[in-house]
Symmetry: D2
Subunit: 343 residues, 4 copies
């Protein structure tokens, strides 16, 4: 971190900064360019520490160089994290496809979609038993009954189950019935929930908050890892912008940006990220082309009857065609993925 | 809600919509303008129900007219909600000032600021014992020890205490020591927490999410009210935009916009809303001029020593001058507030 | 357009709306559902006309159904526009690649890049002779001298030239030396410039404004078409959001969204859209996978010596690998493009 | 500017940066903290120059400290700019009120509003003869005929005239008939227009672009000043965000933020900034309380008949009450304005 003094800062102001640095137990190099003095603090320092200098007289600017996250960073682990779930992997060479439904509604719907997912060769099934809904009057999910239906999917179709938990009690239940705990967009900075998930033995699929920066997103994952759970799957699902042609703006550039600084796998959810059926396939293909480790895609046998988010779900036949296309694009990129992983 | 068919929609398509409306138990009027058919559904209908029509063949557009919130709305209660806490009120004619500290650090700091708050004539003190922090390595608050210091402030200075809870367990503690439960920005859509707060006997100060629309903000309050707690104080604290001259963009237009559709009081937090000391006073004054029911302002006797958010805290003397100015502006508006409340 | 009256609107209020409709020469159907009256105006009506009803007593909401654009719309022309430039096409089956430099700096730089572009099989070369720069003190381009270098590229390498104009006088010059007029992001709503470009015989490459909605983007193209120039190529180049990992947020979902409502070709500029070298290739591949008709990509033989935007330019060898990948992905999608074009 | 090398950067990488600095004619101090080398370049350096270092091997980060604007800055001129127009001032102690109409429609409308403006004691009248409209089919203004009506207002009511120009030719006309040239939001980065305005003898009212940062806004003013025109009035008019309760989000924090770094006066346009009648008065009052030097407010004798932006115009009686309130708030702040101007 650099502390840059104003051009005309006086000796007493410079001394005050010096003392503060010592008080806090940091060590700094001093640079006097004849016109202005700067300090470079050598120790790693958080943003809250940085702000302790902002109000001192004579200070012009504080410049953080070190990143505030640790465990999620490439510096902490240089090889990519590959998460093993049963005989399947997330983050490896194979494209991960998580097919499923938005909300678990009943056995018929779920089994029908699970059949399609199995047929596509995907190994993960996602379904929501607890639904975060903007309105208290909207369908809130089937709860444990829904989780039991999902466990039945696992048994019948040999698919790994991903399901969301909204609070600590629900994590207990998801742990009982599922294979991956999803933490949703609205809870990306629910720090109590992140800490609880960090104590779980199950991998955590963490969705990006609607207005989260890359740094905030990684720090949320850091909360989980700091509690001991190293298996975090990041998921881009669209950010909130001024646009109105899609429900959110899918920010695919975060895929290579995350991969540049973190070893964690990152997947994309084009269903929630666009909110419209006709946008899902193009953006799913684009996600693969951008280098995503996987996709989370919603299917509904009769989207017009869905109890939630029906407008974005793919029909089974649309989904099956899309999976073929995504695999073909993934094949095109395979040599690149390997080269870039080594670089 | 209107369901507008495409210009060339065929009879079978129109019949399909008709049937769906009946299946769902709604009743609709049909409008055929010679060129295009539309339906107006008379019953109140949520957005999830609306989406059940979007994928039907021949449907051009779904237009919601009714608002999805109920209890928070002016329709449900025509007079403004005035929340009584001891002998004080929020939402009435008097400007509510909640002074305080970001994080409770120690008795000395808190009592010093409480003295300033008392001196200004304000009746509420705010301090955080549990701090939501972006990084797991930042100071997370003193916990129950902090709440005990706050309870001591209440006893010594006769100020009502506002303090934040991050999960259900923390609400239990805040209820034990404080007078108002704060739900923070990052938890605005933590629905488990909202439901728990809705069962509390204490009023809830609900901060707007960083990227929440007016409708989402009101629906979060609706979650609290739907559980039986009618005492919700809304709080604007800045939204996330592309700008970089302030930490967030304080969206003051939401103050009159909320007052137009809801009976709930709305206050403003210019400290977090701007993140910079020199912006707090101008934006606090602007909040009053925009018609806010109150202000939440952070003070620190030595901001350069603060363990969190020091850069935005006012010095005691800055705060005292500001309170005078805000009261003078409030005085200018008093006739307007009364007229507009009656209109 | 629907005009929805408030539930309790009185007869005189309803009559006032009726009269206004007649005064303006519109015709409306009236719908009385027993509880509330609505009008459906049958004629096409602009947003400015719509606002003439907003302030009338008793009006609850105005709902526009018809889109305000005409010539750019699928309704006006059902087959896709294919723009012919010499023996090349934009908008057809082949992926259009426009390689080039940000600013024309000198012959050596431009000829070197033109050689690379030619080698890749691309048919278009882009170079800026007039540069819109945020600061008046930054390099503003070589002007006509730069255009002459570009004309030399056309002669030597048989590439079609795309170059930007910032005002009417510059369009005169670009018309003299180039094949396609580029209108930049900052000028997307420079209506004088759009009208002048609409009178040109050259095709216009119109970049999306930094905060333009889909509708505003299409209406800017409508300005060009309304003057008689039917050859407009739309270009997504990133929007302004809160994120900081890329210079702008490339909004790829606008590609299928534009293709759903307009017949105009749409290409993507991942160089300006990301602003960082390492993000260009992943986002270029993603653009193709999302269905873009083409790409605009910057190359620099020695990016570290570039006079503008050096950080985003690809090295020649990076560019050549990328072109291969993009063509392979385009090949995967070809059947889809044909099917979707027919649907 | 600091150039921070990576922790493990080698000697050859460090030498390369050294050479580049010399080649470009800059001078730098070197700081080696034992672990990492940094350079501080002492000369003022633009962002384009800064980017010349970003791609060099071994460079971790480039940190700009100096601001890229000069003439608009407090450093260039320490006292506030007061713009004199006839016997009136903008930027001085008095609150500047510019009342007027959005579009000049006819003499009757304009004279009626001018009478109201005069009655309020305001000294400036604003009317648009050339209207930038999103759609080519919307009313584009009366052109020179409109300017003649405005000149008539000046003669009859002794008000100074503010009117917008969209291109260089229109500036010629506005110079002929008006007292202040307005450059609109969509043209904030129309650099040809800014340069032309910089050569005018009339003051320029420059509106902030819809997604312009503070720095971009000031650099647009720098374009005008760099051509010799020192009389620039900045105008905040709302930015584009995700919110939907107002047309734009009025960003009042930019008022004190501009005043901290620039000597130029800054006013606010709450009419376009909110787009809704009922939000104008609260936000106008808030603007004054935030310290704005003035206001630009639209009035319409019969808003429901307005040819553009009728929904946001105030009725004459609403405007007159508002002016009283704004003056009373301005009075409250007067001592603060003086103190802060001296600090």
């Amino acid at each position: 971190m650099f502390i840059v003094m104003k051009a005309g800062a006086g000796e007493s102001e410079i001394n005050l900064v010096s003392e503060r640095i010592q008080q806090l137990g940091f060590h700094a190099e001093i640079l006097d360019n004849g016109n202005r003095t700067s300090f470079e603090i050598i120790n790693s320092i958080g943003s809250s520490d940085a702000s302790l200098f902002e109000n001192l007289a004579g200070v012009a600017e504080i410049v953080r160089v070190a990143k505030p996250y640790k465990l999620v960073s490439n510096f902490a682990r240089s090889e990519k994290t590959i998460i093993k779930i049963g005989d399947s992997e997330i983050g490896g060479e194979e494209l991960t496809i998580i097919g499923g439904v938005c909300a678990v509604e009943n056995e018929e719907q779920v089994f029908s979609v699970a059949g399609t997912v199995k047929k596509s060769g995907a190994k993960f099934f996602r379904g929501g038993a607890f639904k975060p809904r903007t309105s208290p009057y909207a369908f809130q999910g089937l709860g444990e009954k829904g989780l039991k239906i999902l466990a039945e999917v696992r048994a019948r179709f040999d698919l790994h189950i991903v399901s969301e938990a909204l609070d600590n009690e629900q994590i207990d239940l998801v742990e009982k019935y599922a294979d991956v705990i999803q933490i949703g967009t609205r809870n990306m900075q629910n720090f109590s929930l992140l800490k609880r998930a960090g104590k779980s033995k199950l991998p955590v699929l963490l969705k990006r908050g609607m207005s989260a920066t890359l740094e905030e997103f990684l720090l949320a994952a850091e909360y989980v890892m700091a509690e001991g759970n190293e298996n975090v799957i990041l998921c881009e699902r669209g950010i909130r912008t001024f646009t109105d042609h899609s429900r959110n703006t899918l920010d695919l550039s975060i895929v290579p940006a995350i991969q540049k600084v973190s070893h964690l796998p990152i997947i994309v959810d084009p269903s929630h990220g666009t909110g419209k059926n006709y946008l899902v396939a193009p953006m799913a293909r684009a996600s693969v082309a951008a280098g995503a480790d996987g996709l989370l895609i919603e299917i509904h046998p009769q989207p017009e009857k869905a109890l939630s988010d029906g407008t974005q779900a793919l029909l089974p036949e649309q989904y099956l065609v899309l999976v073929e296309q995504m695999r073909a694009i993934h094949q095109v990129l395979l040599p690149t993925r390997i080269t870039e992983a080594l670089s």
